[in-house]
């Protein structure tokens, strides 16, 4: 670490720059901000992804951008990389306003990005990928000898061993990531943006990556590191900015904070409103999950002995930082993923490893996290999407024929009941906003009076009005006597909706809490991996 860098840190420790209006006078004494974002706003249909973001990145630091899925991290970095144009706000590079109409413009300003999903051509060699898009040498033929030499030197200097002549498809994921980093370095990037770089790496590779990053900043590079993993923030960053629902919650020096604080900031510190809830009546056990194990898409353990019970007429919240088994849990319960061990029973009858159809027929409704890619067929109409699961049954079909009139009647009713805003029931759902799509999914899933509702991130990405409506709908189901399993990364939501909650960490249940009395600090600690000691809250 260079002495110059240390003195910067000392200055930085003067204060937390959570409020850009009161930027420290010390900050203005040196041109130390590589890049500064002021009031960045980016709207997508039905959602504000970035809502007035202020952020400054200092030269030679590793700056973590921490936030849940949908907090706006990736949108922000795409703006910085020229993939999106901000609707409002300003980007300043070394104090001068700039615009990035395309990634090329960002590259010209020496900003490099390592995407979560690599942008490499698998059939080309490493060196070919590196020079792709560069105008090097004269004529149509790139000069690979020089490229190779420069690549080897870079690889040597920063601990990024990779064979320049290997084909990319032959490389392991970790090696491919090194190629992406080398690509940015080859283009002499000053600022390197890394979007969730560790999600594809083994623990050993993560350690090696962190070492590389430290070497890079020692040589004057600046790194923005996007993540939702608290461990990584603590391990690698100098400063951390926490995003939540498109806004900056805080920017902190990593040395002055800890994991529970960050967890709390990330999922919402202030419980803004507790919903009006009818008192919880002690129901009968409805869903029993016993020692369930499952693996994720890459074959790695995702659930490791999960047990819990959902009673009728209660909301059981599942809290946790994303990627700790929540997605797999929802899939196992709804018949979309096999449990490798354990037992699932609804109303006492076994449902383990039956089909998605069997789960639906048994009365399990599923409000999926991927409401557009999984929950709807975007090219089909509202009417057809509403019978996506019930088309097999009366009144929507008789024999082999569909009954369009029954479907139309049902659709008109659902559109009115759930206040789905659309020109007509024949409108294709790809034209609907996020909030209306979620209303449609709820209308469909709740139409058969399900016994259990598995709701994954039901308000994620929705505006305030839709959020409130969705929550009211879920509570109405609870009051009707259904059991609700609410999976959410929004702790505020979990605390205000749930009767009881469990915390998942690395595929295990850290403990069960009563939502009424649960302390945010306690939940934050459990989300970071500490187990609840005493039984009962």
């Amino acid at each position: 670490m260079s002495p110059g860098y240390l003195s910067l840190l000392a200055i930085a420790e003067e204060g937390v720059t959570g409020h850009p209006g009161q930027r420290s006078r010390l900050l203005d004494t040196r041109p130390q901000d590589v890049i500064e974002l002021r009031g960045i706003v980016k709207r997508f249909p039905g959602v504000v992804a970035n809502d007035g973001i202020d952020l400054s990145i200092r030269r030679g630091e590793i700056h973590c951008l921490l936030g849940e899925n949908g907090a706006g991290k990736t949108t922000l970095m795409r703006i910085l990389y020229g993939l999106y144009q901000p609707d409002e706000g300003e980007i300043r590079l070394f104090g001068k306003p700039v615009t990035f109409p395309s990634p090329r413009a960002a590259l010209d300003h020496r900003i490099g990005m390592v995407h979560q999903h690599f942008r490499l051509v698998p059939t080309l060699s490493v060196e070919e990928n590196v020079v792709l898009g560069l105008k090097e040498g004269r004529g149509p033929f790139p000069r690979f000898r020089q490229t190779r030499k420069k690549l080897r030197a870079l690889a040597e200097a920063y601990g990024l061993p990779v064979d320049p002549q290997a084909r990319v498809w032959q490389l392991a994921v970790g090696e491919q990531q090194r190629v992406e980093i080398l690509k940015a370095l080859y283009r002499e990037a000053d600022l390197l943006i890394m979007d969730e770089p560790t999600s594809v790496l083994t623990p050993q590779e993560v350690d090696a990556l962190f070492e590389t990053l430290r070497t890079l900043v020692d040589d004057g590079l600046t790194i923005v590191f996007i993540t939702h993993k608290l461990d990584e923030v603590m391990k690698v960053s100098d400063r951390v900015t926490v995003l939540r629902r498109g806004k900056v919650v805080a920017t902190l020096n990593t040395s002055e904070t800890d994991k529970p604080t960050l967890a709390r900031l990330m999922v919402g510190r202030e419980v803004v409103f507790r919903l009006e809830k009818r008192p919880h009546e002690e129901g009968v056990p409805l869903l029993e999950v016993d020692d369930v194990h499952a693996v994720n898409d890459r074959g790695l353990p995702a659930l490791r002995g999960v047990s819990f019970t959902v009673r009728s007429g209660e909301v059981l919240g599942v809290a946790g930082v994303s990627g700790n088994g929540q997605a797999e849990l929802a899939e196992v319960l709804t018949g979309l993923r096999r449990a490798t061990r354990g037992r699932i029973a609804l109303d006492g009858s076994d449902l383990t490893n039956r089909s998605a159809r069997a789960a639906a027929d048994a009365g399990i409704a599923h409000v999926p996290a991927e409401r557009i890619t999984m929950g709807t067929v975007p090219n089909m109409s509202i009417q057809e999407n509403l019978i996506l699961k019930s088309y097999r049954h009366r009144p929507f079909s008789h024999g082999i024929l569909l009954d369009e009139r029954a479907a139309a009647r049902h659709a008109a009713q659902a559109v009115a009941d759930f206040r789905i805003a659309a020109p007509s029931v024949d409108t294709k759902t790809k034209l609907l906003s996020g909030g209306n799509i979620q209303r449609l999914v709820l209308a469909r899933e709740l139409s058969g009076e399900p016994r259990l509702v598995v709701a994954a991130h039901p308000t994620y990405g929705l505006d305030v009005g839709a959020t409130e409506q969705v929550r009211e709908i879920l509570l109405a189901q609870r009051d009707r006597g259904a059991g609700i399993l609410l999976i959410s990364e929004d702790l505020e939501e979990i605390l205000s909706l749930s009767d009881r909650l469990i915390v998942l960490f690395q595929g295990q249940v850290m403990g069960t809490l009563d939502a009424e009395t649960a302390q945010v600090e306690e939940v934050g600690l459990m989300m970071a991996g500490s187990r609840k000691e005493a039984p009962g809250a």
């Binding site: 395309s102 069997a358 999984m374 790809k430 034209l431």
Partner: protein, 358 residues
Amino acid sequence: MRSPRWLEIERRPLPSGRTIFLVSVAAILGALVVAGLFFAAYGVSPVRAYAEIFQGALGSWLGLTETVRRAIPLLLCGIGLSIAFRALFWNIGAEGQLLMGAIGAAGVALFSGLPGPLLIPAMFVAGFLAGALWALIPAALKAKLGLNDVITTLMMNYIAIYVVEWLIHGPWKGPTMRGFAYTDRFPPAAQLPTIAGTRIHWPTLLVGLLAAVLVFLLIARTKRGFEIRVVGENPHAARYAGINQVRTILFAMLISGGLAGIAGMGEVAGIHLRLLSPTQISMGYGYTAIIVAWLARRNPLAVILTAAFFGIIMAGGDVIKVTLRLPFQLINVFNGLILFFLIGSEILMHYRIRLRRR
């Protein structure tokens, strides 16, 4: 997408029916213009060439009947492909399924020994089953092993071609054919009736028109059709909704291959009256039908129109050969150009392009 200064390119969320129609017509016109360059290269005025083609295909009773008889196999294969494409199964194998249908029908005609009145119905069934079976192989390979459907269906075509070749050179070679590579002529009871003085084997045409209506209703109005559409539009949603994708794809391919098989049956029982060389049985109907189905935007009713259009083009190919003394293969150039322009126009359909005013 970045656009140059003088152009404005804007995504349009949903192309209207009118847009789709206009863009399709524009694609055909584009292909006609470019194909015209080839006529010009042969020293024939494109205007005269097209006049001859349409005059030849539509301007006389004989031309008209030839157009219809070419349209029959295109109709059957095109309907079948439209249902496979709806399920997002890229069936490039209608040609092979057609040939297998021809084999099935020929087998029944020559060797079944069924009494006369039962022979034709049995040949329809055999043609359908043989084509369907041939289509189910790549469908099962994709559903169970994830093998690429484009490649397997395409390769199955070559296998079918060699099966036909083998049969007509080997075990099925007709003893009365004096060494030619044909089977024997079908018995009269196994020959499809034709409209007097033409080569239009009307029972097949009737089956084709009926199939267009039935498949349209199947896709639009039945549970199975709903499943096919969901699987084709969003496989994730299909899985989520508990739709059995394997069964859905197998079903779509059963119909798809079966209809192509009936097309093959019609060719051997209605035109050639024997099983003979694959290039004579088909003239690439199974491939042209891909364009027929695409131009119809995977709508079985629209296939009636597009199959007729390509019937004109193919009948016009004979005119090219006879009147203009140009190679018949120009038709293939034209077909290729249409597909090229159609696929290109898919992009146009989803973007609105305007000149930017200064």
